[in-house]
Amino acid sequence: MNLHEYQARTLLKAAGVPVPDGEVATTPDEVETIARAMGGGVVIKAQVHSGGRGKAGGVKLVENAAEARAAAEKILGMTIKGLTVNKVLVAPAAKITSESYVGIIVDRESQRPVIMVSPEGGVDIEEVAAKTPDKIFKLAIDPRFGLMPYQAMSLAFKLYDDVKQVRQAAVVMQRLYQAFVDAGGSLAEINPLITNDEGAVLALDAKISVDDNELDRKPAIAELRDLSAEAEAEIAAREAGLSFIKLDGYVGCCVNGAGLAMATMDLVKYYGGEPANFLDIGGSSNPEKVVTALKIIGADSNVRSVLFNIFGGITRCDDVANGIVAATSQMSFEIPLVIRLTGTNEKLAVQILEEAGFSALNDMDEAVEKAVQIAKEAA
């Protein structure tokens, strides 16, 4: 789960990281009032879960309250990479003398949290990594000891010459690490970490992504989820315990298991079709999940055939069959279904489906080819 910048700033502030003032607003009126109170010179930043906000016109630096209002009118309601901007952050314009980067991720290779710093801040860090990898400094943290002061200092010396700033930056790094751990983060980033005209080190931007598996035990973090920033179908799927991602094609896919779901999408493509979605109904099946899955897929007007690909292990084929029968009797489902089932309780499932007037296939390739063909004929 991604947090908004303003939410990440609040967490960092609570952890003791120096963050300039800032307020969230949802209307141009509010923005104008906040800007006036801040003395006029402010930056207005779109709060959406997307990188490249600046390039998209979602970040504006203004001189006075009237300009702030005008900028807010443009930014609020605009879409950035398909996401509508409902909130902006208003912060006083900082007098920046240097921009650095500090980030923490969970690194798959070292199997540890890794902190990365670079004196080249304020830009896309992946670009820095690609063009000038020698300007990025990394350190794997032993999570049993945390980021130790000497480690933070050694990294901070890569950013600043002035030892006062080095000490400030080292403290920022340690507190960022603490905020990262406390939030159950998969990523925490300050880009840019600036020095201002008074020599102070400040976090001008903040980004935190949370490991979804942490949310059960961190209710305060879970509450930060912004439902308005997510697609409706994906919310419905998550609440039903399904994993769903909408794509641009026309063959709806309903599969058990993430690996098989991806392989099924790939096979749709192999046979000349385009998958409409990724959908994993998960391990333990219950018929209700199948009902929700069919509703979600059916709501996509691009879908011209729906392919079930079920390999029964923990998932029982008869549960899926019952779900298909229940769903199609509850609602009028006009889209043709192609059903492939094999594994646990396959015979029982085939019987349930045949009694309800469906036929079931046993072979994955045959089913995918058929679903693609039906969808193409319906075009």
């Binding site: 999570p143 991806m262 493509k269």
Partner: protein, 289 residues
Amino acid sequence: MSIFVDRDTRLVVQGITGRDGSFHTSQMMEYGTQVVAGVTPGKGGQRFNRTVPVFDTVADAVAETGANTSVIYVPARFASDAIYEAADAGIELIVCISEGVPVLDMTRVIPFLREKGTRLIGPNCPGAISPGRSKVGIIPGTICREGNVGVVSRSGTLTYEIIHQLSGNGYGQSTCIGIGGDPIIGTNFIECLAAFEADPDTNAIVLIGEIGGTDEQQAAQYVADHVTKPVVGFIAGQTAPPGRRMGHAGAIISGSSGTAAEKMAALEAAGICVMKRPADVVSLLKERL
């Protein structure tokens, strides 16, 4: 022979009285796995299915039954504690089936296991099966056949699909292992490849990867440098969009890295035959054997 699990596997089931734990314990016993003990705190002294003794702690189970392998079915939030407990009790191989273990928990578990010298398979995995000998986890025994193909995979049901293709066409398996779909896991591709290479009963290897991370690229390099047996590979997620988690926490393309195309190219460069679809596993194996 086989790798990791065999007839000498003496299994303790952590979470034996839970819904998933009890169902799969019955399945494993039916398959012939030596399930010697179960653990559920507070239920020590009971018996599972009137045969398997249940203990309050893994240490008690090990002391009384000589268990050497554990399988974990407890809810994700208790899983890391269950792993520590098993390792502390001297278990040599831990298979963690639980899905949804926080990745920061795993960053602490891994160094602990290294110090103890304990092998972990998973979390978020279907476990391992050596057909005809022993199964630890949830891979359906009915789809497997005894034979000489080693299978290693990051996925669950996709692995079943490929095993199904193998068994249906006369290719039995020495051992099938699902290593798990999380970003941080105990046993990686390379360790499985090394074990299959050393196993006299394995004469070919099927490697099933997916998008996200660089494990497959490293595995490819390892195959080029150290594996003499034929290897056939598959990568799921050619149609996956970047930046989205495809079900598995580890299956995510970040920026331009971790794509299926990149991984398939790495496998091919290492001399591994890459399947375009799961059904190709049979023809590719036939070519190489």
